[in-house]
């Protein structure tokens, strides 16, 4: 059975085909949820919610985009809705998480120190992303990992394109700090 056939059958309520779609896409949806919320239990709940919504909405899938793109967008919306309910969206967008950086990212005017190139691995990067403040993490995950454009992020998050760009820059700067700290700590051991 092809994916297109599974989609058609799932539209008619075929549970078996729906399970096939779940099997195909669960990893990507779960990884997206996990990176956005940084918590396995929450990520599993959100994965569950995303696929339940998929079951209920699959009849509206018209094939104008790839199914994976459509499902991905649906999943992002599920996570963002969840975060809005928790009140994190407003907090992060107003940047009250790090009020000392209200006027923009911290400047690096200091002496030259070690550069990161070649020194970070996947595990360290994943951990550093996990420890980003939620607002930074969401924009970073959506833009740098998932490949969304700023206009798409702005639409999904209900913020300006400029805000999305600014949050992304701050997220990368914060990640650089986190990764450098980890590298230095590792070197001291």
């Amino acid at each position: 059975m092809t994916e297109a056939e599974a989609i058609d059958r799932a539209k008619n309520g075929d549970g078996y085909s729906f399970e096939l779609l779940y099997t195909m896409h669960k990893r990507r949806v779960y990884s997206l949820c996990l990176r956005m919320v940084g918590n396995t239990a929450e990520a599993e709940d959100l994965t569950q919610e995303a696929f339940l919504q998929l079951y209920r909405k699959i009849a509206t899938f018209r094939g104008e985009s790839a199914f994976s793109t459509w499902l991905h967008r649906l999943s992002v919306n599920v996570v963002l809705m969840h975060l809005r309910k928790k009140g994190l969206n407003e907090v992060s967008l107003e940047e009250t998480i790090e009020p000392q950086q209200e006027d923009g990212p911290k400047k690096d005017l200091g002496a030259r120190d070690n550069v990161l190139a070649g020194s970070i691995d996947r595990v360290n990067l994943e951990r550093a992303i996990e420890s980003l403040p939620p607002g930074y993490r969401i924009i970073f995950v959506l833009h740098d990992i998932e490949g969304y454009e700023h206009n798409e992020i702005a639409e999904m998050m209900g913020c300006s394109i400029g805000n999305s760009k600014s949050q992304l820059h701050k997220a990368r700067m914060k990640l650089r700090d986190l990764l450098k700290t980890r590298t230095l700590e590792k070197a001291r051991r």
Partner: protein, 99 residues
């Protein structure tokens, strides 16, 4: 020149204010005049580009626990939209993707 720039922070602050829009424009900023004379900003740009590049390589590596599918199926069965006799677990064995 480099030493003076770093000590005073002039040039660097302006460049770093401009940096988000320079990076988002997607232009090659390695030839920016400020970077030719400032190692601090040059290192910063290199690190930020490196982080963005590494992020693109992060693959979805984690699977949800089997409980997630059980919960989804349980909910759909309770709602009466999916039959109870569907055997979870068969899907993976029987599904061959043809592209």
């Amino acid at each position: 020149m480099d030493k003076i720039e770093n000590k005073l922070g002039t040039g660097c602050a302006e460049f770093q204010d401009e940096l988000p829009s320079l990076m988002e424009a997607g232009a090659d900023i390695s030839n920016h005049p400020h970077l030719q004379q400032c190692h601090t900003c040059s290192d910063l740009v290199r690190d930020l580009l490196y982080i963005a590049d590494q992020a693109k390589l992060l693959l979805p590596l984690h699977d949800p626990s089997p409980q997630v599918w059980s919960n989804i199926k349980g909910t759909l069965v309770r709602e009466g939209v999916m039959g109870e006799d569907d055997d979870p677990g068969n899907a993976k064995k029987n599904f061959v993707v043809r592209r």
